[in-house]
Subunit: 231 residues, 2 copies
DNA sequence: TAGATTGTTAATCGATTAACAATC
DNA sequence: TAGATTGTTAATCGATTAACAATC
């Protein structure tokens, strides 16, 4: 997986594009890691692409292709060393470094995320929560302090926080995004069903529950139709 | 597209879904609907694919292609009738019918979902929650009763529930899935980072938080690298 | 050795994007 | 009419899958 520029790019005099792996590949890495950590816990030292594929109901060729992005080399006839592969995937995902984040919107969903201590194993630590509701400010949710919005920008700057998790209401989302972007945030994990306008340098990862529900609804409807047609 | 229903089918029922639209199309439908409902609230009567595309930062050709799956016909030079388009998308997603669901696992995330009253506008109603913890059984979370696991199968069968929402712990997920599948569930909205084994007739929609986090982590890391390379 | 599995190159598939005539 | 937009067909792009030699 060389990151050499394509001839056309070189010819055009542009700087070599740093390539990111395909997004579907990146998403699958998280599940590979899950399997690998479990398997390590069971004392298994090597694992084949075939085994990973079976556990995740994927094709082994896809697993092999994906794993190649981490730079690991396997042993034909054997597979990959579990410990090494875990290290490579963690490095690929930058989950071997800790990333600090702030969470804005300490409602039900925000509270649930604050309680997710599994994040620690995924390189994420939420350093504080923020909310506009004076009744919430000053309290703690799952051991995280809830601070007032007026403290947000300053904390981001002072602690060089790069990631913000948005769980505010839809009508507040854009203004909060503006605020954190101004303060220097580089990535937003957005749980609000709103299309945020941000400068190009800021990356937004949208988690849209309703799009998942849409898929499920359509598939349920589709299966029912099939059943009825079969009668 | 040859089997597109005529406008007159609106009263008669729904388009015969022989093929399912591409999954990315289905996911985007949810966001189209969001824009349309807002725009309707503002009193706008027609909307062009161009306008929808701008609001969602998409290409207009993609919006037009997607909307074609609903069977709607627009007016060249004008666009689509907002009210009609909302109806078509709701029908496409089956969100004009109510779907009952059970939620299993009344922890933090499960509780947050129980409190999401927006689901009502997306055709979903959670009729009850279930949990193995005796301390939770008998309580109410956001006005939903929490019942014991021993009542689950019977309620699914009696009420002909087709959808189950899984927010249990990872180690319980497969056995709960087996249970609801046996009881006749046709679709599972799975929030547990576990690959469920289910019969082919059951559709599983996985919502994997960590895969979203993986994308965000990689992009943050990537942007930082680019910045450093630029120096 | 025989069987399993890797890693690469090529083929296929499916979704996105482009082009453009038709039409309001 | 002129400008905007739809809807269709074709081209492109990117990801998945197939094939298979190399190798443990």
């Amino acid at each position: 997986m060389s990151s050499e520029p394509l001839p056309s790019e070189a010819a055009a005099g542009r700087p070599p594009l740093l390539r990111v792996a395909p997004l579907p590949t990146i998403r699958r890495m998280a599940s590979y890691l899950r399997i690998l950590r479990r398997v390590r816990g069971e004392g298994q030292e090597a694992i084949s692409g075939t085994q990973i594929a079976e556990e995740l109901q994927l094709e082994s060729i896809q697993v092999r292709k994906d794993l190649a992005y981490t730079g690991i080399t396997g042993k034909p006839g054997v597979g990959f060393l579990v410990e090494e592969l875990i290290g490579k995937i963690e490095a690929f995902l930058n989950w071997d470094n800790n990333t600090d984040a702030v969470l804005i919107g300490a409602g039900h969903l925000g509270g649930a995320l604050l309680g997710f201590d599994a994040f620690q194993r995924y390189g994420l630590s939420i350093v504080a929560a923020f909310d506009a509701d004076p009744d919430k400010v000053g309290t703690q949710i799952h051991d995280k302090h809830v601070l007032g919005m007026e403290k947000l920008a300053n904390l981001i700057e002072r602690m060089h926080i790069r990631m913000a998790i948005l769980t505010v209401t839809a009508d507040a989302a854009q203004s909060v995004a503006d605020l954190v972007v101004d303060a220097g945030i580089e990535g937003i994990w957005n749980f609000v069903p709103v299309t945020l306008k941000v400068p190009e340098r800021v990356f937004v990862q949208n988690e849209d529950l309703f799009s998942g529900l849409a898929v499920l609804s359509v598939m349920l409807q589709h299966n029912r139709r099939k059943d009825e047609a079969a009668k």
